[in-house]
Amino acid sequence: MSDFAPLGELFASERSIYIGGPIDRQKLWYWVAGEVGSWSLQGFSSWGIETHDGAFVGQVGVNKPNHFPEVELGYLIMPEFGGQGIAFEAAEAARAWAFETLKIETLVSYIDPKNACSVALGQRLGCVIDPDRSLPDGETTDETVVYRHRRAA
């Protein structure tokens, strides 16, 4: 729960517009508790990302809430740790875990096309746009593009 305070600051700010925010502390607590619960419920969920000296720098996760048609690889990095390749490193590790340990055949990332950083990261991770796939319930093509991760041959 030590991740909660820094996440609270991020989600209270306008910097959270592409990750579902801004949201208040109470709603965020529900969100984090939901991620904790999903580890038991589904066997996968979100990790906190720390540096080797213990600083909380963000989250990476493999998630499938009820309204997602497929399992998603998602990530968020605290603004002060951006631009260091942390999301790439964490996303690669989470993706490898999903493919190897969960034996998931394919993953998607739902990315807002206006979120240039995330689009660039999706491309760096080797994702390709999959235009025919359905979106999470209630989302439109203006706000969400499906990027597909393929298991390495």
């Binding site: 508790a33 939901g34 619960g37 419920l41 309204h67 319930d137």
Partner: protein, 175 residues
């Protein structure tokens, strides 16, 4: 596989146990039924109700308590939920209850709440316990009073808005 570290105990007609996957659908149906869920939190969208179900499991992992499933011994079906709730922004831990369609008017919530309250006093060493009830929820207020709780104050709940806080008798008063 058990999803939580919740206890398992039985009363005359009920089993109180941790939430399991087989309970999800009954909760989703309840949440979308505005007349029944309004005082608890009306959740019309399936995915949002599913998230609440997941976050209750997380609540167990974070606090060591949360909502238990009330299982009807006779049918084996979920009859409601009863437990201890204390998310961010809550004034203090509260005991809450909800009874699903078909199980109302039979004293299910009373039987469950007596057992859950006894559990937290005995096993979690709580010295006091509250229930937060929206003023319009007269059935829940009647049950709180039947449980011996008394109105303490009015306050603004972060989720429910204007809310009434009831305080239960302390453990020693129940002996």
């Amino acid at each position: 596989m058990s999803l939580t570290n919740a206890p398992h105990f039985e009363t005359e007609r009920l089993i109180l146990r941790g939430p399991e996957m087989r309970d999800v659908e009954a909760f989703i149906v309840f949440s979308a039924d505005k007349t029944r869920s309004e005082g608890f939190g009306y959740i019309p969208q399936r995915d949002e109700a599913w998230r609440w179900f997941a976050l209750n499991i997380g609540h167990w992992h974070i606090h060591g308590y949360g909502y238990l499933t009330i299982e009807d011994k006779e049918t084996g079906n979920p009859a409601g939920i009863c437990g201890i709730w204390n998310p961010e922004g809550w004034p203090e831990p509260e005991i809450g209850w909800v009874v699903y369609e078909g199980f109302e008017g039979k004293g299910v919530a009373y039987e469950a709440a007596i057992a859950v309250r006894a559990w937290v006093y005995a096993e979690l060493n709580f010295t006091t316990l509250t229930s937060n009830i929206v003023p319009a929820n007269t059935r829940s207020i009647a049950l709180a009073e039947r449980l011996g709780a008394t109105f303490e104050r009015e306050y603004e709940n972060v989720q429910m808005g204007l809310d009434h806080l009831y305080r239960h008798p302390a453990p020693e008063a129940l002996l």
